[in-house]
Amino acid sequence: MEIKKIFCEVMELDTLPEDFDYLKIGDIPEWDSMANMNFLMSIERNLNIRFSFDEMAELTSINIIKLRIAELQQ
């Protein structure tokens, strides 16, 4: 499952926000810190990667999350 689909599923959105690639936590009401954790953990399950405990709190924008996923998938 790709990140856009995971995002919509976790945030319970019918459509992806237009500026998805530039979104950060708090930009839409659905994306708060609790939803962010569920988003990150859903990414882990679906993409079979794992974030360390000390980086999770900094993964708060689509851009940063995508970059980190790319690093972990190398």
């Binding site: 810190s33 954790m37 990150l40 000390d54 999770m56 709190a57």
Partner: protein, 134 residues
């Protein structure tokens, strides 16, 4: 690992403490602490059996705790706190068990500068770990 306290988010520490004094008396109050990391004011009320409740008052609209008060029809009980000796090992263990990490470590004045960190459990409740340096 030892249970330490339950954290409750409140609009006003003074009004909330007064309510506890009226409805659930028999405790002593700590001094008031300011936690700049999450922009809140904190006071502990502690019963004779050492059970502690942490009253947490957000100091601004930008405090990450403020949103708890804005959710209507939901509980303001915010977290369960445990103290542990090797907090880094505990964090790795909880990560293995599927916990998410809402914050990084920071030093909390309310715990004599000990490191604390907030986790989200797989059951969707928040846990605070406090490093036990004693």
């Amino acid at each position: 690992m030892k249970f330490d306290h339950i954290g409750i988010v409140v609009e006003s520490i003074d009004r909330s403490r007064a309510m506890f004094e009226r409805d659930f008396p028999g405790f002593s109050s700590s001094k008031i602490y300011i936690d700049k990391e999450i922009d809140v004011k904190i006071q502990f009320i502690e019963y004779h059996n050492s059970n502690k409740i942490e009253l947490i008052e957000p100091l601004s609209a930008s405090s990450p705790i403020r949103s708890v008060l804005e959710k209507k029809n939901s509980s303001n009980i915010h977290h369960l706190a445990y103290s542990c000796r090797d907090i880094e090992e505990a964090c790795n263990t909880y990560r293995d068990k599927g916990y998410g990490f809402l914050t990084k470590f920071y030093c909390a004045e309310a715990f004599k500068g000990a490191r604390v960190i907030f986790l989200l459990s797989p059951l969707n409740f928040i846990v605070e770990l406090i490093e036990d340096n004693d």
